[in-house]
């Protein structure tokens, strides 16, 4: 068991965005968190990555309590997330963004005198090729197409060498072909690099296509959790989520 949240709760004033969510994520899983808009998925992610401090409950990673650990420290432990809003680094090139992630993960960032571009050439190209951005290496962030920005996001998160990768709506705004390609890519990367993936999604086809385990959130509460077939068959889930707008 790689990650566990116990009774994780987050209040914003009187709004309880995440309500006592207890969940386990197993190593090597591709685990989806689904739920209608406003169900608390993003907030839940934010609690795991340290962007928000929970009102109550615990986050445990590799047996260690990380509930109050600052984000950058969690990243060093092996938790990385991608972001839904892909503004990333507008003025850095694709290559530089990935290089930066590698520099950080290998702890070289305090070096103020050597030439950054001399490091990790092989690793950067490897990641860029894996993700399909090798052609775009010299393109700046603000010139990328939406799909490419998402892939760049992914490339950067790979550069940090995570064990647990949180992907927030990784196929948001993509065409069906791009979506398919991205999910295949994610699955491949998970297998090749031994990553555990926790992701949120709207596209049900995607979710049931690759998730090994699904958790369903509704109004901040966990209402179902298990293998795709079981979740799909669950009456409550159908009522709340699948029956309505998918």
């Amino acid at each position: 068991m790689l990650l566990e949240t116990r009774g994780l709760t987050k209040d914003f004033g009187r709004l309880r965005a995440v309500n006592s969510v207890s969940l386990e994520v197993s190593q090597g899983d591709v685990h989806a968190i689904i739920g209608p808009n406003g169900a608390g998925k993003s907030t839940y992610f934010n609690l795991i990555t340290g962007y928000h401090v929970p009102t109550s409950g615990e986050v445990i990673f590799k047996g260690r309590r990380i509930t109050r650990l600052p984000s950058h420290k969690r990243c060093k432990l092996g938790i990385t997330r991608s972001f839904q809003i892909t503004s990333v680094f507008p003025k850095l090139t694709v290559y530089e963004g990935v290089l930066l992630a590698l520099l950080s993960s290998k702890g070289i960032t305090l070096n103020p005198l050597s030439r950054a571009m001399n490091y990790f050439k092989d690793e950067v190209w490897h990641i860029l090729e894996d993700v399909g951005l090798a052609e775009q290496a010299r393109v700046r962030g603000d010139s990328l197409s939406h799909g490419d920005k998402k892939r760049w996001e992914l490339a950067i998160t790979l550069g940090t060498g995570p064990e647990l990768l949180l992907l927030d709506e990784p196929t948001c705004g993509m065409s069906p072909e791009e979506t398919e390609a991205t999910m295949v890519l994610i699955q491949k990367l998970a297998e090749e690099r031994g990553l555990t993936i926790l992701f949120t999604e709207h596209d049900m086809g995607v979710v049931f296509g690759i998730a090994k385990r699904i958790s369903v959130l509704h109004q901040g509460m966990l209402i179902a959790d298990g293998e795709p077939q079981a979740v799909r068959a669950s009456e409550e889930v159908q009522k709340v989520y699948l029956g309505g707008v998918a």
Binding site: T109, N111, R115, G159
Partner: protein, 323 residues
């Protein structure tokens, strides 16, 4: 990449040649202005480390500049200290104070960071100004002399030139280093950078100390150059000079602040001939650049070059709209 470097280097070599030959071409009066421009360029480059490369505005850099100058001035006049050690002391004092001030400033970002830098700058100014017994208050300190070897204007000029070149080289290495990349990332997207495992406050503090030390170096060079220091060197108006220079030359390129400083220094020298109203000119230039020439002179030129190279791309490239 090699060809590109040479293309860029030609003007660098030209500038170096001009710099070395200058004392034999121009009069002593202009040499003094050139020396001033070089010193203030270091000051502006320090500012731009924080602004152009890290994305934070510091309106209080003059405090560190002034501290460098005052340290040298006081060590030389009161203790007859060794000149070289005094320079080092100036840099150290500026850096240490920068560490203390920066510690508080980096707890905040953006607007609040900028506010605090202005506030701390003012605090340091008031302390120097009011501590009459120690610093001489508004009388300042006179009689700050470089060692015999550097007393002649030409000698000191070459000294400034060497220090300038060394500072530029050092800064160039820093901004292209892994540390420099972290700065750039923090400028673009601090949140995302944090999720790469970077302790934002710590890196911002390091950059802040670097900028403070560099500003202190500029001030330390200045005191023996003009033979005196005064409290106005720490004033908020003085803090505006690297700001104006950087905005004018452009914060998006490495040498933008240098170009802007040279323009500003010569303009300043010209203007001082007939008026004391320098702040209004500074402010007006800043506004003009913000509204009419965003990115400053070099930034504007860079954009034009990019547009041209974009159009010169393959037909496919040309079909895509310029960003």
């Amino acid at each position: 990449m090699q060809a590109g470097w040479l293309k860029q280097a030609w003007w660098l070599i030209l500038a170096a040649v001009v710099g070395i030959l200058a004392p034999h071409i121009i009069s002593e009066f202009y040499l003094m202005i050139l020396g001033e421009a070089l010193i203030m360029s270091i000051f502006a480059l320090a500012f731009n480390l924080l602004f152009g490369y890290m994305g934070q505005l510091s309106f209080g850099q003059a405090a560190f500049y002034g501290l460098g100058g005052y340290t040298v001035a006081m060590l030389l006049t009161k203790l007859q200290f060794n000149f070289w050690l005094s320079l080092v002391a100036g840099i150290l004092v500026a850096g240490i104070v920068g560490l203390i001030v920066g510690y508080f400033c980096v707890k905040l970002r953006g607007i609040y960071f900028a506010i605090l830098t202005l506030a701390f700058g003012q605090l340091l100014f008031v302390i120097i100004y009011k501590w009459h017994d120690f610093t001489g208050g508004d009388d300042g300190i006179q009689g700050v002399f470089p060692p015999e070897a550097l007393k002649a204007p030409i000698s000191y000029y070459y000294f400034i030139l060497i220090v300038f070149a060394a500072s530029v080289y050092l800064l160039w290495k820093v901004v292209n280093s892994p540390f420099g990349y972290v700065l750039k990332a923090m400028r673009e997207n601090p949140e995302r950078t944090e999720f790469l495992g970077i302790n934002i406050a710590r890196y911002q503090l390091m950059a802040f100390v670097m900028a403070a030390a560099l500003s202190g170096l500029a001030g330390a060079l200045w005191a023996p150059f003009y033979r005196s220091v005064a409290p106005f060197h720490l004033m908020w108006v003085k803090s505006g000079e690297p700001v104006m220079a950087t905005i004018l030359g452009g914060s998006t390129t490495f040498f933008g602040p240098v170009v802007g400083t040279f323009l500003m220094t010569f303009l300043h020298a010209y203007v001082l001939g007939f008026t004391y109203f320098w702040p209004v000119i500074m402010g007006s230039f800043i506004l003009v650049v913000i509204f009419l020439l965003p990115g400053g002179i070099l930034g504007f030129a860079q954009e034009k070059l990019r547009e041209r190279s974009f159009k010169a791309m393959t037909p496919e490239g040309r079909d895509q709209d310029a960003p």
